[in-house]
Symmetry: C2
Subunit: 119 residues, 2 copies
């Protein structure tokens, strides 16, 4: 039961598209990640994902539209929905999703992180 | 799949100890709540709870110690652990917890909210 300081955790890594686990509860994980540029189009068969913008802004692209998110905003992407985060500049994001969630969902490529570091 | 702006949602209510539902995913709810003063000592038999400070500061009191949390910090209180949030001044908090979580846990009193409003 230690508290977690988000800014302090974010200062510990500089990599992009490389989620770090900072908390866990009820089978869900809290992750921090830095986005830059476009990610991979993908979906998650069994997991809803929440993206909360800690600092910065990015576009959550769907096949039929785009939602722009800024600091202090979040979006929930339901399971099965194809999406692609796209950040023009670096953005810091907190994720909430089931522990089993793979970052690239149904796609496996050079961006896939099979195991995540806890920081 | 609409985005949620935390500040905009917080502007919609002024009550204390009155959680509002602003999102749901994987059977978990995202809630916003304003704390002021001491809450009720309680625990949750089956739910872990996450408290993320959006703005302000408060003490999470446990029977054997107190953890002080400020803006941008969070704590996970595991199921079964007695706790009491206590805020010297108003603080805005985002909660993540299972949909079934009762705010006062194992205690039912005048602070209990049996049903929660979605905003």
């Amino acid at each position: 039961m230690e508290k977690v300081n988000i800014a302090e955790k974010l200062s510990k890594f500089a990599t992009h598209w490389d989620p770090k686990v900072v908390g866990e509860l009820n089978g869900q994980m809290v992750k921090l990640v830095k986005f830059l540029g476009p990610f991979t189009w993908h979906s998650h068969a069994n997991e809803d994902e929440m993206f909360y913008v800690v600092k910065g802004e990015f576009d959550m692209e769907f096949r039929d539209r785009t939602v722009h998110l800024g600091t202090g905003e979040f979006i929930v992407v339901p399971r099965g929905v194809e999406h692609r985060p796209n950040a023009q500049a670096e953005v810091h994001v907190m994720l909430f999703e089931p522990a089993a969630t793979l970052n690239t969902g149904n796609v496996v490529n050079e961006l896939t992180k099979a195991t995540l570091q806890r920081i």
